[in-house]
């Protein structure tokens, strides 16, 4: 079966693919941010206050992409 036939056989709402893409990136991003923060605190526990702040900023920026990605449902389906 060639690629054109496979694509033609796919049915359903293509927006679900969009949600998947909107979820994968931020999930990887938050995983990296939190994992690196754990590594850093394990190396230097006295810096945990500043590292918590930096972790917060990292999570905020990463989740902003996910929120915008999911909210595009409003304009792409109407």
């Amino acid at each position: 079966m060639d690629a054109t036939s496979i694509v033609a056989a796919i049915n359903g709402n293509i927006a679900t693919v969009g949600y998947g893409l909107a979820a994968i990136g931020p999930a990887i991003g938050v995983g990296i941010v939190v994992g690196k923060t754990i590594e850093s605190v394990a190396r230097q526990p006295e810096l945990q206050g500043r590292l918590t702040t930096l972790m917060y900023i990292g999570i905020a920026f990463t989740e902003a992409l996910a929120l915008i990605g999911i909210a595009t449902y409003y304009i792409f389906t109407n």
Partner: protein, 150 residues
């Protein structure tokens, strides 16, 4: 007390003030563009973005301030990351519930969410950049050493 607490508190307060401003401006623009439905959509969109972004700092604040948990214990990450997953499930459910509601003006709602998200990021960056925070936290000891008077 963790030194990140003051940053998170300020971020929550200024984020709420910004959301209020966006709700007012978005409500006026939504009202001019689409009448009552536009106002309602602007208020709902701003509230969704503000609450869901506030949950991030709120959950870290809760996990950090809780005296029962050492910072960066498994309980800390259970609260922060559990809140993150819960927030996204709720956001997804809300989007699907309100997506085809007759009172929703999708463009007004989307642009209010966008403005609140971008504005919240700006507020976070400004708060983090301007707040004085010590480099080193005083380590929290599990057992307070007894002072000897002799």
């Amino acid at each position: 007390m963790n030194s990140a607490t003051i940053v998170l508190k300020r971020s929550l307060i200024y984020g709420a003030l910004l959301a209020l401003a966006i709700a007012v401006v978005g409500g006026v623009i939504g009202g001019l563009v689409a009448g009552g439905n536009g106002v309602l959509s602007a208020l709902v969109g701003t509230a969704m973005a503000a609450v869901f972004l506030g949950i991030t700092s709120g959950s870290i604040l809760l996990a950090t301030r809780s005296r029962r948990y050492e910072a960066f214990s498994p309980a800390f990450f259970a609260i922060v990351l559990g809140g993150w997953v819960l927030k996204f499930v709720m956001f997804l459910a809300l989007v699907f519930l309100t997506g085809r509601a007759p009172w929703v003006q999708p463009h007004v709602l989307f642009f209010c969410i966008l403005a609140a998200v971008v504005g919240s990021l700006l507020v976070d960056v400004i708060v983090v950049a301007r707040t004085r925070q010590p480099y080193i936290d005083e380590p929290r000891s599990a057992v307070t050493p007894e002072r000897s008077d002799s």
